[in-house]
Symmetry: C2
Subunit: 172 residues, 2 copies
């Protein structure tokens, strides 16, 4: 009996289901977002809340698609993406975040989420998928390169926040 | 008469109208895209055609918004943008391209297009607007910094193209 139980639990433990996120997953997804922001030394940069995620992801015109990695009905990872538009390539997909809960890393869960995202890029028939990574996150960059992706070294990301937007517009 | 004519033309020449692009502008917009790609030493990277731009920008669910700079009913510049989603900030705007025809540079047309984009970011009430620039395009980066935008130096852009997507998925 014990052995059967053990095998049963073990099998369940290893059954990683990658599925589309539901509204009820958004609280856990926000926890994952905050966990990644801490890893990236930017914990204070997270301004959104659960209601934003629900409103923006599950309305008539959703702003993103979210996949989750589900083990025993528990969400342990997520991948969040949306469409972009390249004036060179046309429709593309952008992977905004791919996060696996710390305690569940090294089990291939991130790879499953990534693979599902790449499968969706194929189904969507886009000419390109893209994302950004911090230059010191060597392991992630190595993983992406091994998958066939290219790291662009000469493009800089430029951002203007709400305060600077307002400041700019009051200047003539 | 000549003087009146001169003044009349001069006034018209200087009247730069920033307006939403129409379907009939897309051929000129594609020319501008190709001109920028040449400047960026990537002329061969432009895979899209006029029909893609019309289908993707003017359908029920448009993938982008395009502004044009119009002088005497002639399009001499454009700014193309769309919504993105940050898991830190929520809805954001992304400026994919801002292009002014070579012969019309240095006349403040780019600034007018940029300002209109920033105004739209304010109206859309996004917490952030962003774009990328080539690191050797010093003048553009200086302009953006002066406007209050920040250049992020530690984020790398990573891209996977259609061929690499297919290759990755055939591997186990």
């Amino acid at each position: 009996m014990l052995i059967i139980d053990f095998n049963y639990n073990f099998a369940l433990m290893n059954e990683i289901l990658i599925r589309k996120a539901k509204i009820s997953d958004m609280a856990t997804v926000l926890d994952l977002i905050k966990e990644l922001a801490e890893f990236e030394k930017e914990a204070k940069s997270v301004s959104i809340n659960v209601n934003d995620l629900i409103k923006d992801g599950f309305s008539d015109n959703p702003k993103f698609t979210c996949l989750v990695a589900d083990i025993n009905n528990s969400v342990v990872g997520m991948a969040l993406f949306y469409g972009r538009y390249s004036t060179w390539k046309g429709r593309t997909l952008h992977l905004e975040d791919l996060i696996v809960k710390k305690a569940f890393r090294g089990k291939g869960i991130g790879k499953k989420l990534y693979r599902k995202f790449i499968q969706i890029a194929k189904v969507e028939n886009v000419r390109r998928a893209e994302w950004v990574a911090l230059d010191w996150n060597i392991n992630a960059i190595k993983f992406y390169k091994n998958s066939g992706a290219k790291v662009l070294s000469d493009w800089k990301t430029i951002q203007i926040d709400k305060k600077a937007i307002n400041n700019y517009l009051v200047k003539k």
